[in-house]
Symmetry: C3
Subunit: 254 residues, 3 copies
């Protein structure tokens, strides 16, 4: 993929999402569940959020992609992840790891490292979480090395979003400062990445495209919002309406 | 009830709700809890959402209606349902069953069938859930038969909403396509049905009126919203302001 | 503090919050988690919401204030509170108790009384909860006596908000009727009080200022909203933009 083609590719993936309505099962934190479900619906996917270890296998078996987000992690979620990954691995279902707040808890950080060993398609995280996960400062060389070591796409979000599979690199400059003032924005970006993986087999392309879609939607929302409360609704409206024209006009990728 | 009277009856029930502020206890899924509480408050009811098996009996004993929603079902919710139904049955508190996603998990489907045996006042569900629950395709004859068999009002929502107690039938054509693009809309409709049951003793009337109120509010919201994000706030605003004039002008029931 | 200075003091605390971005860890109910996180972010704080007893100590150890809210209380939350308070007490981290719905459950009420013995900086509650906690009717004399007995600031919210540490008293008349029509408004006010305690060492001042900030934001939101749905976004927007001019012009304190 040439990065210049990313806006059009992103529009194509969004069209596939809306046409196919893939199922995305989410093990995610209590704060993010509602917003994540609404972001997935706005993009065209069908979310499910059941956590019970007894039932999660049945949901993952019928899902097209899986999200594992470590926010508000607890015993039930840990058991659920084990059950979910067993099914996803067997079925080769793509999955995204979002190691929320692993910089706050050594126990969570150690657990995240074991999950990386179970071969996520992509890892979406911020700089502090990357440092806690890899032991490396989050510069381009470290991202490349970590992607090569883990065979996962690494998607680092912040003022800029940087995505790499070790061989290819993309930088997305879209987004808006209010995204840091609303909870679960990163969580929702990870869920959107899982939805993109459900309809796009190249995980680097899927991850970069998802962050571009979310960033462009965030930029549009930022123009309309009067603060973080109205921004929350506006980014969902913008994602729902996102099309190739907006993506081509507004994308800032390299 | 003649169906033509449903708009005025719905307005009357809403007035009673606002005057009496009944308590509605909800065992509901993690994704829906916040939106459900806000829908209930907008309609005039007082929601509570405690799940702990130790405490739920105390909450249900003081409640005027109960919702049991099977989304994100887990061990704690299962224990809670048992404790809640014991109190509700003893006190003859009306309750609504919402068998979310039972088409995805045979275990959940089997459990839902045992709950139907505990005599819900109404069951609110979609066509796939009805098929999983009853083994029948969701046509009018099957809804009638299932209502007669279970002695519950069956409220099937979708592009049209169909409500029956086996003897009486109502079809509500209100609503808006964006309702399918926001999570927990069906869950909230079930909760609203429970609130209506708290102040209207005829479960068929209460269920049909609740779906009409929610559908008309959804239609008004759809005229104002610019996407599913703004729709979420707009349907709550519309429900809060809903009156007999809007119900009479906009209701499409038969 | 002279109460007339409260608007300017509140503006100063908000500036400190935005500059320092303190961490506020919240044990709070499932209904309130998302809205609470967004209120904290809008005010300038960094929320975390992990409940697992295994990890909560690590989060509280890195936090500048703690909220303990008893809504949707369950076994996991009870174990979490014990672990959280052990760390907070050792580190002298300020914490706020919000005894949600203790008037509905004697078990919860008894538990809340044991928590009061662990010396919260402030207790934010409504009149029914105050009665269940203290055995007293919620008049000024009772608030004063309870504050002196417990050494906690008592912040009673309702049509008026009354705050006292037993020696000083403030009444805040701001706010808006729609605040009673949106779930988790009281919960968010408690969380905001915890954030203010993170940057203001006088708990009476911090509590009164937090309620003034939230009440003024609520008043501004009420002017803009068309119902409780739009109010939810509007109060977050208003809190995010709140400044000394709005506080001085709109504050009604005595």
């Amino acid at each position: 993929m040439r990065v210049a083609e990313l806006p059009q590719i992103t529009a194509d993936i969004l069209m596939r999402l809306r046409a196919r309505a893939p199922r995305v099962h989410c093990v995610t934190n209590a704060v993010a569940q509602n917003f994540t479900a609404n972001v997935l619906l706005a993009a065209g996917a069908i979310p499910s959020m059941t956590l019970s270890p007894d039932e999660i296998g049945a949901f993952v078996a019928r899902a097209d992609a899986l999200l594992i987000n470590l926010g508000t992690f607890d015993a039930e979620r840990r058991d659920s992840v084990a059950a979910a990954l067993e099914v996803a691995t067997e079925a080769r279902t793509p999955w995204v790891l979002d190691p929320v707040f692993i910089d706050r808890s050594e126990q969570r950080s150690a657990y995240a490292r074991t999950l990386v060993g179970q071969k996520p398609s992509a890892i979406r995280l911020n700089a502090a979480e990357f440092a806690a996960l890899s032991g490396l400062e989050a510069d381009d060389a470290a991202l490349t090395r970590y992607a090569l070591d883990t065979l996962a796409v690494v998607a680092l979000t912040g003022n800029l979003d940087r995505v790499t599979d070790g061989a290819q690199h993309a930088v997305v400059e879209n987004g808006h400062p209010l995204m840091a003032k609303v909870t679960a924005m990163g969580c929702a970006a990870s869920a959107l990445s899982a939805a993109f993986l459900a309809v796009e087999s190249n995980p680097f392309v899927a991850s970069a495209a998802a962050l571009l879609a979310f960033g462009v939607a965030g930029g549009i929302a930022g123009e309309r919002a009067t603060g973080p409360g109205s921004f929350t609704a506006a980014i969902i409206d913008a994602l729902y309406a996102l099309d190739d024209t907006a993506l081509r006009e507004k994308a800032r990728v390299r």
